[in-house]
């Protein structure tokens, strides 16, 4: 076979004998290299890589956690804002209503007051009128009594009578 002749050829090239020493040397050196590298290089390197992996995983977890928390807070804030807005809206609304009611009340009170004053004025006027009429009536009565007594007191001539009447009228006019 080609491969065997190659191997044998190499062995022949080595001088008719196989270098078993090389085999052992290579084996031992490789195993020693493997052990040394495992202890001094690959082991620590793998350790740090694993550590980093864990670090990244924990960081991702922490990030996710804080994101969730932020989301929760945001939701909370949003709700609070909505609440505040609604409250403000209702406050404005109630203030408006309150203002409306107050306006109506003020207007009603003013109207009532005006009505009352008008009524009072009317009453006053009426009273004054009554008073005036009563005074006139009183005076007319006394005047009539006076005239009657004068008429009864004297039987006079026409001329005297006229003069008397005139006098009395004059008197009445003065008395008035």
């Amino acid at each position: 076979m080609l491969t065997s002749s190659l191997v044998l050829g190499a062995a022949e090239q080595a001088g008719g004998h196989v270098n078993y020493g090389d085999i052992f040397f290579q084996l031992i050196v490789f195993i020693v290299l493997l052990a040394l590298l495992k202890k001094f290089a690959w082991g620590p390197l793998m350790g740090i890589m694993k550590q980093r992996e864990e670090h990244i995983a924990s960081e991702i977890n922490a990030a996710e956690e804080s994101r969730g928390e932020a989301k929760k807070l945001l939701e909370e804030q949003r709700n609070l804002l909505k609440e505040a807005r609604a409250e403000a809206q209702s406050l404005i609304e109630s203030a408006k209503k309150q203002g409306d009611i107050q306006r109506e009340e003020i207007i009603a009170a003013a109207r009532q007051e005006a009505e009352r004053q008008k009524d009072a004025a009317k009453l006053e006027i009426e009273q004054q009128k009554e008073k005036a009429v009563a005074a006139i009536r009183e005076q007319v009565a006394s005047l009539s009594v006076l005239i009657a007594s004068k008429v009864i007191e004297r039987e006079l001539s026409q001329a005297d009578q006229d003069a008397l009447i005139n006098e009395y009228i004059k008197e009445a006019g003065e008395g008035r």
Partner: protein, 237 residues
């Protein structure tokens, strides 16, 4: 441009001195890069740490594309070390080669079949080990008879074929790259002025291509390691 290997015998075993040297250098470079890059670790990565983390994620991607991370996570460190070591090894032979007394000292350790096959056998051995460990002896054994019973001989052949191809693919690519480089640099460049001038752009292009091939081979080796591992370890196979 064939140079000999600086071989020596120790404790009854034959060693290739160049391999020993280059394996040590490659391992040292990988270790230095890795340790320097992870010197100052921070939660916010900078500079070299970024690069190392990119390598880790890259290998993680390779594993994830072949099997579940629950099963594949344990091969992560193996994968990173493999890809770094093979990449550095592939690159070592590219800038220059050092020949002393007609013996090649500086080269890619992966340009030797015995090194790549060692790595391949080690990987396949690990797949069998983890196959038994994760699925139990029964589950592991059943793996050889699914989906059809008569596929058993093919499955056995497959194990050996996998081992050979895994090792020889890497060796072939890197060795061929270095061979052509040495032919260009030591052969063509010595054929007079015209040869030197002709060798410069060719060497440049081939070095660039070899960097590409070296990177791809490191990736493929790691990828196939994980694929073979997945075959043995995953429950849906």
């Amino acid at each position: 441009m064939h140079h000999g290997a600086p071989e020596f015998e120790l404790f009854g075993l034959w060693f290739n001195g160049a391999n020993v040297l280059m394996i040590t250098i490659a391992s040292a470079i990988v270790f230095l890069i890795a340790v320097l890059a992870t010197r100052k670790l921070a939660m916010k990565p900078t500079g070299m740490q970024n690069f190392m983390e990119w390598v880790m994620d890259f290998v993680k991607g390779i594993i994830n594309s072949t099997m579940d991370w629950k099963e594949g996570g344990r091969f992560h460190i193996l994968g990173i070390t493999l890809i770094m070591y093979i990449f550095v090894s592939n690159m070592l032979g590219l800038p220059f080669a050092i020949v002393v007394d007609d013996k090649l000292w500086w080269k890619s350790p992966t340009a030797d079949p015995i090194i790549t096959l060692t790595l391949a056998v080690m990987i396949l051995g690990l797949t069998h080990y983890y196959g038994v460990k994760l699925k139990g002896a029964k589950g592991y054994g059943e793996g050889f008879f699914t989906p059809m019973k008569f596929l058993f001989p093919l499955k056995i052949i497959e194990e050996f074929a996998n081992t050979l191809t895994l090792g020889l693919r890497l060796y072939g690519n890197i060795y061929a790259g270095e061979l052509l480089l040495s032919l260009l640099a030591a052969g063509l460049a010595h054929q007079g002025i015209a040869g030197t001038i002709a060798a410069i752009p060719l060497t440049l292009v081939w070095q660039g291509f070899s960097i590409f091939v070296g990177s791809i081979q490191a990736y493929i080796f790691t990828m196939l390691t994980m694929v073979y591992m997945a075959h043995k370890v995953s429950h849906d196979h």
